[in-house]
Symmetry: C2
Subunit: 160 residues, 2 copies
DNA sequence: GAAATTAGATATGAAAAATAACAATGATAC
DNA sequence: GTATCATTGTTATTTTTCATATCTAATTTC
């Protein structure tokens, strides 16, 4: 692994850009790795006309029938106003249903439709392939260790 | 580690939001962990009046005296027009100098000033503390494994 | 029943990022 | 040498994303 973030075009002044200081930070590697994942995932979801947020929302709704928009917004760490447009889109495409909750008529009860579940299944398969591609070279233990480390970092939020 | 992304407010319909499907994806954990890192890093850099992008740019300039804006943009994976405003800010605050290159009078030769290097040193110390906080609970090997895995994922980009 | 709270929607604004087009300079082809 | 082409940085513009404030209808609290 060379000590460079990218190649330079010019022969003068600076040949390669050194990121030696940044390399010391795990956050730097997380950002760069996530950029790659996000970019590839976006391409992976394109054929299904899904974006990262709509894909995530669809899965959570299917896994949690009767979910409310505000619960979904909380789970996805986005603001309620921004959730509206995502749910709007999923409903317009008839991937989810949006019925008034029986117990609380302010709230919606979100559920995946058959079409939504079918599209989601296909998308999940594609995302699994995408991950297999990106994680190629990491054995099972390494992936488990990666996820464990990421979960630990994430847990730092609720604690401190 | 419970199988929930967040707690619900209502006793009806759904009590907890299950993210069991998403938990299977490393990308999901990367996104959530990175959100925590980014949020904490933003707070960490606030006292120095630095954002993630200005902090990164400042470090790269200091580590690579004579750097050009386009090289910096390449290294940071941002578009050249967006680099302009970042360099503008660093120059306005006199954290960097921006002289015409001797060899190519179209380009600028970017260098850190004394004030820039001093501010950067302080910021780096704060970021080191921030990382120590977030990585607390991971031993040295775990951190090394994390970074190794992230580097491998990142390398998938240039290859495929 | 009045006041406070909550779910969702709307409108708006701020920040980040991408695209197109331009002037100045440099490199290349002939 | 000159014409053509490519590159550096800039400007202008747009899109996208994300956050805030406010509104309604419904619910809860007292």
């Amino acid at each position: 692994m060379p000590d460079t973030a990218s190649l330079s075009h010019s022969p003068d002044d600076v040949i390669r850009v050194s990121d030696k200081t940044l390399q010391n930070f795990a956050g730097y590697h997380m950002k760069r790795a996530f950029n790659v994942v996000q970019s590839d995932l976006t391409k992976t979801l394109k054929p299904f006309d899904l974006r990262m947020l709509t894909y995530t929302a669809l899965i959570l709704i299917i896994d949690n029938p009767g979910l409310r928009q505000s619960q979904l917004a909380d789970a996805m760490d986005i603001e309620r106003p921004n959730m509206v447009v995502i749910v709007d889109e999923l409903e317009r495409r008839e991937l989810i249903s949006r019925d008034r909750s029986e117990h609380d008529r302010r709230a919606y009860s979100l559920k995946g439709t058959l079409a939504g579940r079918q599209l989601c299944d296909k998308a999940i398969d594609a995302v699994k392939a995408h991950e297999a591609r990106l994680l190629k070279g990491l054995d099972e233990d390494a992936v488990a260790g990666l996820i464990e480390a990421l979960q630990l970092i994430q847990a730092r939020t609720t604690v401190g």
